[in-house]
Symmetry: C2
Subunit: 379 residues, 2 copies
């Protein structure tokens, strides 16, 4: 008998679609052809008005819910929010969860073969932005016969894609769900990304991004980058509660080995990440974050940007998130209000920092579920 919980979508299989139509990018470059790997959960109704697009964040991918086998112990990244009876209820909605262009989990990215050279793109893979991802996801919607999303939803970098959808294709979504997000990175956010990229790019195994040709990976640099990222995903309090100054061993050794549990934990996080993630993709994702600036073309005037959106908004933030603090969500809410848009905003108490959007919390889940239940779809 399966050990998978009954409120899970269960065992799922990624799907793939090939696209031949060139995609012009913000950078001026073009991707001639590409694959989109995605998962779907639930059933598209006859009117095709119950589809929800789920957008992933920096280090996650198309596997948002369910398991890849009966034996798989690790569900998709948003298992707490997607499934029967969950906020994004798969008894009601048809969920589409693609991996973005540039990713390392199947969709075309730096590890893919460049048809021009018959070698992996590596550092020649063009920089992609949130605007490009929305165009890319739009083509997936077209192919799947979805003319309008019931909702586009995401947290962190995923929330940025949801925001961008509302601006870029205002008629193509009815709800925009934006969690633990910001309308642009702060200087501090950019600075952390710059240090993370340095760690990767200065690893001698990086070989200017052509490490695939050298049968190596910049594991050390990627590990450092991930450790740094991880500090910014957790709150100071959460780290304090979890580890404090607890020692790894029985006593201090007064050397340069690991002395404290928090060091050991971070090292583990870094190591397990290296096994599943590509360094060129990590660079690309941090750049997409840096470049995102929803009101950039409007001189920073977010309210002006929101004048043309049509979706209703649900925003949520978490008290101890210092990467994208509640204040950053309030900026968006304030601009939406100035533009007289329909917005529901909630701030949740949580000790989990930025990661809170991935962590079960009754207030968050219940409020998100209530919002999604009110969305009207055809039977």
């Amino acid at each position: 008998m399966s050990k998978i919980a009954t409120d899970s979508v269960g065992v799922v299989r990624p799907q793939s679609l090939h696209f031949d139509e060139p995609l012009e990018l913000v950078s001026g470059k073009t991707i001639e052809q590409y694959e989109i790997v995605y998962e779907t959960y639930g059933v598209l109704n006859a009117q095709a008005d119950n589809a929800v697009l789920v957008c992933h964040a920096l280090s996650t991918d198309h596997h948002a819910a369910g398991y890849h086998s009966e034996e798989d112990s690790k569900p998709g990244w948003w298992e707490i929010c997607i499934g029967p009876g969950k906020p994004i209820d798969t008894n009601k909605f048809f969920v589409v969860s693609p991996s973005n262009l540039g990713h390392c989990s199947g969709s075309t990215g730096p590890q893919s073969i460049d048809p021009k050279t018959n070698k992996a793109y590596g550092p020649d893979f063009p920089i992609v932005t949130v605007i490009d991802w929305v165009n890319y996801q739009k083509r997936l919607a077209d192919r799947l016969g979805i003319k309008q999303w019931a909702a586009v939803a995401g947290g962190s970098l995923g929330g940025m894609q949801a925001l961008q959808w509302a601006v870029q294709f205002p008629d193509m979504l009815r709800q925009c769900v934006v969690i633990a997000c910001a309308a642009k990175l702060s200087a501090q956010n950019i600075a952390f990304n710059a240090v993370a990229r340095r760690a990767i790019m200065s690893d001698p195994d990086f070989h200017d991004g052509r490490y695939y040709d050298h049968a190596t990976v910049p594991a050390s640099g990627l590990k450092t980058a991930r450790m740094l990222g991880h500090i910014t995903y957790l709150s100071d309090d959460a780290m304090g509660d979890k580890f404090g100054r607890e020692l790894k061993g029985e006593k201090l050794n007064y050397d340069y080995g690991i002395e404290f549990q928090v060091e050991s934990y971070l090292r583990y996080q870094g190591e397990s990440f290296v096994d599943r993630f590509d360094a060129n993709t990590y660079l690309l994702m941090t750049k997409a974050l840096d470049y995102f600036d929803l009101a950039g073309k409007e001189g920073g005037n977010l309210a002006a940007v929101f004048e043309k959106v049509k979706a209703k908004f649900f925003l949520a933030s978490f008290a101890t998130d210092w990467r994208f603090s509640p204040a950053r969500s309030r900026e968006i809410v304030s601009a939406l209000t100035d533009a007289k848009r329909d917005v529901c905003y909630l701030e949740f108490a949580s000790n989990h920092g930025h990661d809170a959007f991935l962590v079960k919390n009754d207030h968050y889940i219940d409020a998100f579920r209530a919002y999604m239940q009110n969305i009207e779809v055809s039977k």
Copy 2:
């Protein structure tokens, strides 16, 4: 005519003393002999009761005030606080400012020759702790004929030394001045240090710390470490005000070069640091921070530790300091109050984050001056 301001101590010369008596360290190791490089400002009075010990932080040294020549454009690190008429008034006090053991600016450290091998210590230089530094500074006091400091003062890691003095030699100081400090690092503080050390130690030019023998330095790793440190010294707001999302060039290039001013600034900070600082010392200083735990032996009970101190305390913190936030200072103040000690505590509005203790701010300077003016010394 000199361009040096009249409220500066002017041109100063570092001095040096040799110590033959072995210094036993907390780690169980021993330094057989060592040099202490230090600067002094002002004049020791006949009763030797006007001496102030200034303790330096992670990346500073004995050069706390004045200039090294008439042409020198960069004063000591606490020029705003030390000089005639300044908070630590050199018309009244005799200031002693040593470089700590393990440092790279003259006092014995990893770059010094190990008499046992006739080669640089490098990674064989023992780990030093704040407790060791206080013992080391005590010997300097003995040699200079100072039986009791009018005050021991410092910010950040320097404040930790001041706190440790009050506990370790309660009869040897009348005032303890602790600015932008904490009684121990948080898990997050430790985590940032761990990532910084990783950046240095994984640099191929590090050679397990024996890079002096290879005629190289782990410049790239040290630069990354400093960039990371620098982010934690500034507030999110200060970085936002100073740089925001300002571009380095006229437009975005969509590549992995520097796009934003904040990246350029950090890179400059990293590069200039590499020119003046030794990587092994950086490792050592971050370890001293990690190991500091004022109430560690008392099971975290700070008030119990303060039962035996005799000094009066002046503590200050800065609103936007997230490295050692005001809450960390309040923990110390609260424990001092519980132990019925004499304490003056001030929290200052400042946009400068942790660096605020090095930045001129009238409220801070005036309050610090007022406190120091009330200290009684013989004529």
